[in-house]
Structures are given as structure tokens and as C-alpha cells.
């Protein structure tokens, strides 16, 4: 399978490990990623928060570039996925701002999680697991934008998505049930109102601990950065203890372990809340 690849700014900056693990995992699964030539920022939350038509114009530029190749577009970042999908939906409905052209209506925008969770790919993954994640308990944290709103994502399971649970199950992890799969972490306010965001993050953390999870698994670089930085600051300021922490990892990083990809250690070394101790204690590193 060949797909156009939109990494987005986070995967070239704060979340290099998501980019590297995405490329490594796709390569192991024979999914060829062709990076969109000269892609630009999707506008993220600021584009639609204050930008008016920029909310669609910025992602649309990237869809127009991808249309030249005509392949479906895969997006690992939940926020970029949401913006590119919104532009694709608007293009299909003829609701793009005037003057934006060159978008083929037949190309689809998919999240990387959706691609990996396709039955065909999932059975491919199952056949390639060399180190099952036995003994590692995990909660799947989807956050907001992979699922909501339904008119953008086209999903019917917005309150209880199962994609990531299915992937983790195939990898051999113990998937814990919890009620916070799609509860917002407040990422959009991370710089402006860290006080509010900390309260939201600590609730998610407490729920993850209550569920018995060793790790919180995400597909969103905003969620991961936000959860990690609030935990880091919380410990530094003495508002939570180190024992309260639950490391956050990308689903692609866990796939890297299970598929026996050698460079996993370097990915985990970049985390602010180090997942390596718990992974080592389960014999996975």
C-alpha cells in the first residue's frame, strides 16, 4: 500500500519519536509513505480559533499538493488529521472558501490509527509480532480530535472508540477498561492557562491509575506533550508525587517493541516522563 504522508509540525519538532516510529512501523508493514512535497502547517487550533477562513484554507493547501499524486493521505497527528479531514469534507460538499481549488474529491484523509486498525493491516501486524507485550497493562487514550466531531471524522463510535484497543490487543498488551478514552486534556490552553490544563490532566492521570494501567497510549502529539509537561511540572512543584505518574507513549512506539524494531530505545529516551523503567520491568526493553 502506498499513501501520501502528512507528518505535520509536531512530528518534525516536539514529537520526533512519533515520526520515527511511524516510519519504522509502516516500513515493517510494507506501507510506503510518500511525504507531501513542501507541506505546510494545517493551522492547528489557532487557525480555526481566530483565523476565520484560514481554518480551511491552510489544510486545503496541503490537500491540493497531495491531489497532484492522487494517493490517500495518512496523518498520524490527531489535530492535523482533524483539520485535513475538515477541509476534505468541505471540498466534497463544495463549502471551501472561494478561490481554493485543485482538491480531488476522491482522495481520502485517514488517521494512521485508522490505517493500522484496518482488518487487513491488523492481521498483518498479528503475524509479525515477535515480542508480545505480555504483562504490560495499557489504557487507550484517544482524546478529542480522532473521534469528534462526527461530521468531520465520519465515525459512529465517538464515545467508545475501539481502534486502539484492538491494536493493543493484537500486540499482546492487557487492555484496561476506563471511562476517559475521549475526555479532553485541554491541550489547546497549554501555554495560556496551564492552571486549568493541570486539573484536566491530573483527572486523566488519576483515572488511568485507578484502571491499573502501566502506560497511557495515545495517537496525538498534543495530548502526549500536554500530559507529559503537566506531570513534569506537577512533580517539580510538589503537587503530585513521582509515584503518581503514568508514562504516556505513542501506539506506534509499542508497535515498534512488538515488531522487534531495534531503534525503540532512542524513541523512549525523548520522553519527559520516562517509560523505560516500567517497560524494562516487564522485560520489554
Amino acid at each position: 500500500m502506498e499513501l501520501s504522508y502528512y507528518p505535520g509540525c509536531s512530528l518534525h519538532g516536539t514529537s520526533l519519536e512519533y515520526d520515527e516510529s511511524t516510519r519504522a512501523v509502516c516500513s515493517a508493514l510494507d506501507i510506503e509513505l510518500s511525504e507531501i512535497e513542501d507541506w505546510s502547517c494545517c493551522g492547528a487550533s489557532s487557525g480555526h480559533a481566530i483565523g476565520g477562513d484560514l481554518a480551511l484554507a491552510l489544510p486545503a493547501r496541503n490537500l491540493a499538493l497531495a491531489s497532484k499524486k492522487g494517493l490517500d493521505v495518512v496523518v498520524p497527528c490527531a489535530a492535523c488529521y482533524s483539520r485535513l479531514r475538515a477541509a476534505q469534507v468541505a471540498a466534497r460538499e463544495g463549502k471551501l472558501p472561494e478561490g481554493i481549488e485543485g482538491i480531488r474529491p476522491d482522495i481520502d484523509v485517514k488517521s494512521l490509527l485508522e490505517v493500522v486498525a484496518m482488518p487487513r493491516i491488523l492481521s498483518l501486524v498479528a503475524g509479525k509480532v515477535t515480542k508480545a507485550l505480555t504483562g504490560l497493562d495499557a489504557v487507550a487514550y484517544y482524546g478529542c480530535l480522532l473521534v469528534r466531531p462526527a461530521y468531520v471524522t465520519g465515525r459512529t463510535d465517538i464515545d467508545d472508540p475501539e481502534d486502539m484497543d484492538a491494536v493493543l490487543g493484537v500486540l499482546g498488551a492487557g487492555v484496561r477498561k476506563w471511562n476517559f478514552k475521549t475526555v479532553c486534556c485541554g491541550g489547546g490552553l497549554a501555554l495560556g492557562r496551564a492552571d486549568i490544563v493541570e486539573r484536566l490532566v491530573f483527572k486523566i492521570l488519576a483515572e488511568a491509575r485507578r484502571s491499573g494501567a502501566d502506560v497511557i497510549v495515545t495517537a496525538c502529539p498534543m495530548c502526549l506533550t500536554n500530559l507529559e509537561t503537566r506531570m513534569f511540572e506537577g512533580v517539580r512543584a510538589g503537587r503530585i508525587s513521582k509515584d503518581d505518574l503514568v508514562p504516556v507513549v505513542y501506539f506506534t512506539e509499542l508497535m515498534g517493541i512488538a515488531l522487534g524494531i531495534p531503534s525503540v530505545d532512542g524513541w523512549f529516551a525523548r520522553h519527559l516522563v520516562d517509560p523505560r523503567p516500567v517497560l524494562r520491568s516487564r522485560g520489554l526493553l
Binding site: T14, G43, H48, I50, G51, L54, L58, R148, C184, L191
Partner: protein, 207 residues
């Protein structure tokens, strides 16, 4: 004027014995449909369909932090309380998590309404009730205008100049730098000229 309205508490004060704050504009609101019509036309949604079930507010993650709850914002738009809505904190603190939109039984895209309200306020030059949040969005858009992509150091520098919060988040920033999460030199796209023309054409006037 009747006795009861003379004794009425000021906006925001508790209505005695009820625990509830009084509404923003006094007891007698003359409904005005002009603002409702404007919002409905611009967003393509029927806010008139809202019957105040409060599912949006029940799911809102920042409901404890805001001056008006999502259902109240919708009701205020229905009543034409334009200034109160545009000056509200709720408009700026909304995290765009889309839970309200997802749960509305009447298909009102409340998060989309919040975007539109921010857009109108900025276009009209109304000072944001939470300036730091607005500064973040402005700093972000200025950065991508410069590079075509986001670049943390440039964006944070702009944000700190706007807000004067030079020492906030410093320890964490250093830690992220040590972990290789923050690049000194940002990515720059090739066709910046075309990208900037696009931004000029589609941005809000003061955004």
C-alpha cells in the same frame, strides 16, 4: 419600575436564597433576533433548535472555569445579548474539544459557534477576556506566516513578548530542549511567497 426590580441584585450577584447568580443584563431582556440571525447565517446552523437540555454543559471539560456555560451562551445568542457573549470568558477558554457539538441532540455545532464568536470579536477589535489565550493564537499564526510551519522557539518568543510572561514554563522548556524536542532552527517551506499570499487572503482582519 416595580418594587421587585429595584431590589434586584446586580449582574453576577447571587439571587438571594437560590445560590444562582443573576443574569447579565437585568431582569427585563428585550429579545433581539438580529444577532441570532447573523450567527445562524454565518455558521449555517439552527441555534433556534436549542431547547436547553444542557447536554453540552454536562460534557464541557472547563465548565467550572467559565463565566457562562455552553447552553447559556446559546440562550444568550437566542436573546440577542451580543455584547455579553462577545466579551465572555467562555468564548476564549473553550478548548475546542467538540464534546458539546458531538452530544447536541439538535445538531448545534456549539464548538463551531465558539470559533465564530472569537472570529467576530477579533474582527471587531473587542479585547479578549483572557488575553493570554488570544496571544497564544496570534503568536502561533505569526510564526507560521514566517516559516510556513510551526517553530516552537519563535512562537514562544512571540507569546512571551505579548504577555510579559518571561519566566513561566522556563524549567520545562529547558527540559524539552535537553530531550531534543525543541529545534533551534525551524523548518521553512519552499514556496513561502504563495503561502503568505494565502494567509493574507483568508485571515480575519486583525487576527
Amino acid at each position: 419600575m416595580s418594587q421587585s426590580s429595584e431590589n434586584a441584585p446586580e449582574a453576577g450577584q447571587e439571587i438571594s436564597g437560590t445560590g444562582a447568580p443573576r443574569g447579565p443584563s437585568g431582569p427585563d431582556i428585550e429579545p433581539d433576533g438580529a444577532f441570532l440571525a447573523q450567527v445562524e447565517k454565518a455558521t449555517g446552523m439552527s441555534l433556534s433548535a436549542c431547547f436547553q437540555c444542557k447536554k453540552c454543559t454536562c460534557g464541557c471539560p472547563i465548565v467550572e472555569e467559565v463565566d457562562y456555560h455552553p447552553n447559556q451562551i446559546v440562550r444568550m445568542i437566542q436573546l440577542g445579548l451580543r455584547d455579553e457573549v462577545l466579551r465572555s470568558k467562555a468564548r476564549w477558554l473553550c478548548v475546542s474539544c467538540q464534546t458539546c457539538t458531538a452530544r447536541c441532540p439538535n445538531g448545534v455545532d456549539i464548538a463551531g459557534v465558539m470559533d465564530y464568536l472569537r472570529f467576530v470579536a477579533i474582527t471587531e477589535g473587542i479585547a479578549p477576556a483572557d488575553p493570554k489565550v488570544a496571544s497564544f493564537h496570534q503568536a502561533f499564526l505569526e510564526t507560521i506566516r514566517k516559516y510556513g510551519r510551526s517553530h516552537e522557539i519563535d512562537m514562544i518568543r512571540r507569546y512571551k513578548l505579548k504577555t510579559g510572561t518571561f519566566f513561566e514554563h522556563m524549567g520545562m522548556g529547558m527540559q524539552m530542549f535537553k530531550k531534543g524536542k525543541i529545534k533551534i532552527v525551524g523548518d521553512r517551506i519552499k514556496d513561502l511567497e504563495q503561502f503568505r499570499r494565502l494567509m493574507e487572503r483568508y485571515r480575519s482582519e486583525n487576527g
